[in-house]
Amino acid sequence: MNVGVIVFPGSNCDRDMFHVLSDVFHLNVEYCWHDKPLPKNLDAVVLPGGFSYGDRLRAGVIAAHSPIIQDVKKIAEKGIPILGVCNGFQILVESGLLPGVLLKNDSLNFMCEWTNLIVKNNQTPFTNQFELNQKIPIPIANGEGRYFVDDDTLIELEKNNQIVFKYDQVVNGSSNHIAGVCNEDGNVVGMMPHPERAVESEINPHDNKPSSLIFESLIKKMGVNN
């Protein structure tokens, strides 16, 4: 199974994500530089965290206009699993692949802390191994992480089962505590917290098994044994 990790100028969680996919979950991983076409053989794509283009104008907005995003849109239509984490989520939202916007946290500060997620949709390629409402201890690290949608869209999201993760309490003021959403088809998932920082017990002071299920779900979906 081949996973592409897309790298923009300013991405900074690309190496962490690469390590987790290849060394922890033993997948074939390659970096995809933003101005090259996306390789044809990919089974899944991850947009990692960071500060693409230094978060200028607005987090994710410049990267959303990169040539590679056109390719990402094409494979998204084909149903290939795509995960955006943190800045990757911001890019997916800015490119229109996911609904909503990400605003400054209500503290107006960058926030780095451990939170608990609750799985609200266990049908996506990244959540199929979870029980519904299962808890995931996981860290966030962002300045513009407050997910916002208007009330009508929120109703739509709930109706279509597009809310994938919620925080178990108020963290940054996001609409309905939302931490991650998917597209209508469910194959494109974006989340603010960092699963790649939580899957190894050495650096996870709580429990590393729940967040590992995010990657195990993908492996299950692709029907590969690692």
Partner: protein, 721 residues
């Protein structure tokens, strides 16, 4: 410009003619205190700098330690005090940027940052609050954007920093030994300037930093651009992997003048360069401005023609600029041209080596009467005092600060901020523990013992994680060195650090001297900040949650040493008393015993006892574990003292060990083997922080209440007060 008249005469004698205007600018930058260390260099030699793990190569801007299995750790510390005092956001941010490039220039990837911040009294002073808030944001915005975790540091407030800011940044790098840049150059090699464009920001920054701060010279402060720095890091590391770099140096204080002359001097070569080849931000910059601009995010690289093409490809990929500005010659001269016209031509030896000074020193008068035993009336209950201390800005939790720093990126952070020292995992299965500590209150009362105390405290902190100290970084920050009394405090601190380093075989692997830290109210207190790196071969202490029934041992004696303590200074507004001193042999055996206990996994946690004394240290355990305790003061080892002294003395070499009772015997075997002074002083349980003296309650404080105050008071102070 700060070239003094006798220095101008000296320059004329050395070169045998009138200097050109460009030469004057170059010399003024390079002979400034900031670049030349002219006041301190003679004395710094006393510090031990070699050791079995130290790798010394010419031209490194950071210390290099061999951590085994073909890997190295690099480390450096810098400050950006003057700029941060004028423009805290940009000053602090560019302070981060500068020290990162020192790590990069050795050919290693920066993997962690720590910062030490000091400001005036934020409870009273709105300006101090503004400086603090913006410096934190500056560091956060810069470090977070680069994806380099800020894993630790310290924050302190003291009136001596009124209208001033101390921003110290330590950076840690990691890489393969074989990838270290072996700085070398041969005739005809090209000299390349890579990265951000040269602009009018930071003009004369080093001279600015070498004078007392009298004007708000914002043009001397550099403008930060973390995005370009990130691109430079990735481009340089890619070039390093392809072996495209012969020699490399960061552009910091003194800009091009300093980078070119120091590189040439270190490598024993000459460099000829043309200012017209430098990519600039503005079209009409004067040659002199180009030579001394301290614009950030620039690196000087020496390579050959063939490798240049590959290097240019990498720069194209990352869309950063790279200009060939000159070439290597063999006349050991720094030859600067503007097109065909020579505008400076100086021996690099003259430029890079200012005449060192041997400044006079004299014991300050204020020290004659400051150290003596002082006692205050005893209270029957210290709960209120405890609450006041827990809410005080120096003791309150710093979560408002480190919560704004990404401390997880890079997925190395095993022990996160908020504990004694932070621990990073390395690629060879080992762990690096790091901590920086300063204590200007104690250094003011006794510059020598205070400095030793900072060093021992940083060691204690890394020892608490199970790490053996392997290297030290010193950052010596003082006022105007031309004042003999200030220079005396500098020398005393340095001598103390040297004694400790020699006794414990901990080499100084990097450091910095920052002088002329003067505020409108006078000189700052002596502020040495010491960083200690520790190595863990197997596993760091896995901190476990404390449960009801777990017990507490204190190692080390509590003495009548409250000089510079938070209790004297914050509660009683009293400056003076006996400064804590380190007994080297006691310190050593306590460290050894603690390391052996941790290695054998006999304990749940080990916590250092320092600011606020043992009452605060024990409360921290209770608050972070949300559990009460019951402690008897008469069981604390040491001479018989008043209760307040036992509670709040800041004596060194003390460790709090939490353990399950089943491990007590095994623990005691080790403690007895090393003959350390220790005692079982109480146990955990219930929900209040409870201390007794002769069976009478002397502190009784709800853990919830204490935690709430300790956790939120700094944030409240910044945001609402």
């Amino acid at each position: 410009m700060s070239l003094e008249s006798h220095e101008l005469e000296e320059l004329k004698t050395k070169i045998g003619r009138e200097p050109t205007s460009t030469e004057l600018q170059i010399i003024a930058a390079e002979w400034s205190e900031h670049c030349s260390y002219k006041s301190s260099k003679k004395h710094l030699k006393m510090l031990p700098m070699d050791g079995p793990l130290v790798i010394n190569e010419k031209g490194y801007d950071s210390g290099v330690l061999d951590v085994g299995d073909g890997y190295v750790v690099t480390a450096h510390i810098e400050s950006h005090n003057h700029p941060s005092a004028v423009e805290p956001y940009g000053g602090a941010a560019t302070g981060v940027g500068g020290v990162i490039r020192d790590i990069l220039s050795a050919g290693t990837r920066p993997i962690a940052l720590l910062d030490g911040l000091r400001f005036g009294d934020i409870e009273k002073d709105q300006h101090a609050k503004w400086l603090f808030k913006n410096a934190v944001t500056g560091i956060a915005d810069y470090g977070n954007c680069l994806g380099i975790p800020t894993v630790g540091g310290e924050v302190e407030f003291d009136e001596c920093y009124t209208n001033y800011a101390m921003v110290d940044v330590a950076a840690i790098g990691f890489g393969k030994k074989e990838n270290l840049i072996k700085n070398h150059a041969k005739k005809g090699d090209l000299v390349i300037l890579l990265g951000g464009s040269t602009g009018r920001d930071g003009i004369g920054g080093s001279q600015f930093a070498s004078d007392s701060l009298e004007s708000d010279d914002r043009s001397a402060v550099q403008i930060p651009d973390p995005f370009i720095e990130k691109l430079i890091i990735e481009a340089i590391l890619e070039a390093r992997n392809e072996k495209l770099i012969h020699a490399m140096k960061d552009l910091g204080g003194g800009g091009l003048s300093c980078a070119v002359s120091e590189t040439a001097d270190a490598l024993d070569i000459g460099i000829e360069m043309d200012v017209e080849k430098v990519h600039t931000r503005e079209s009409d910059m004067h040659s002199d401005e180009i030579m001394i601009s301290e614009s950030q995010e620039r690196m000087l690289i020496i390579t050959d023609n063939e490798k240049l093409i590959k290097l240019q490809k990498i720069c194209e990929k990352f869309r950063i600029e790279c200009s060939v500005i000159g070439h290597v010659t063999f006349d050991k001269k720094m030859h600067v041209k503007k097109g065909e016209t020579t505008i400076a031509n100086l021996s690099t030896d003259i430029v890079a080596n200012a005449t060192l000074l041997d400044l006079p020193s004299k014991k300050p008068v204020y020290l004659e009467n400051i150290e003596k035993i002082k006692s205050f009336p005893q209270l029957s209950n210290y709960s209120e005092v405890m609450l006041k201390l827990l809410a005080s800005p120096n003791i309150a939790s710093k979560i408002w600060v480190y919560g704004q720093y990404d401390h997880e990126v890079g997925i190395r952070t095993v022990i996160k901020p908020g504990h004694d020292a932070s621990v990073l995992r390395l690629d060879n299965g080992k762990f690096l523990s790091i901590k920086i500590d300063g204590n200007p209150k104690q250094c003011y009362i006794n510059p020598r013992e205070g400095a030793i105390g900072c060093f021992e405290e940083a060691c204690r902190n890394v020892v608490c994680t199970g790490a053996k100290p392997i290297g030290m970084l010193d950052h010596l920050q003082f006022g105007n060195p031309k004042d003999p009394e200030i220079f005396w405090t500098f020398l005393e601190s340095l001598k103390g650090l040297t004694d400790f380093a020699k006794e414990f075989n901990i080499p100084c692997v990097g450091g910095k001297v920052s002088l002329y830290n003067e505020t409108p109210l006078g000189s700052i207190k002596p502020t040495p900040v010491i960083g200690v790196l520790g190595l863990i071969d197997k596993k760091p202490l896995k901190i476990q949650k404390i449960n009801s029934g777990d017990s507490l041992i204190i190692i080390g004696n509590t003495k009548d040493e409250l000089g510079g303590s938070e209790y004297f200074e914050y509660i009683h507004k009293f400056i003076g008393g006996m400064c804590p001193t380190v007994d080297f042999s006691e310190s050593k055996k306590n460290m050894t015993a603690v390391l052996e206990i941790i290695e054998n996994e006999f304990v749940k946690s080990v916590h250092d006892c320092s600011k606020g004394g043992l009452a605060i240290a024990i409360s921290e355990l209770c608050m972070t574990n949300k559990i009460g305790c019951n402690i008897s003061l008469e069981k604390i080892p040491g001479e018989k003292l008043d209760s307040d002294k036992i509670l709040f003395s800041e004596s060194h070499s003390r460790y709090l060990i939490t353990y399950e009772n089943k491990n007590l015997q095994k623990l005691q075997v080790i403690l007895k083997k090393y003959n350390v002074s220790y005692n079982i002083i109480g146990e955990f349980g219930k929900d209040s922080i409870f201390f007794t003296s002769d069976s009478k309650p002397i502190i009784d404080l709800s853990v919830d209440k204490a935690q709430n105050i300790w956790f939120n008071s700094l944030k409240e102070m910044v945001l609402h007060a």
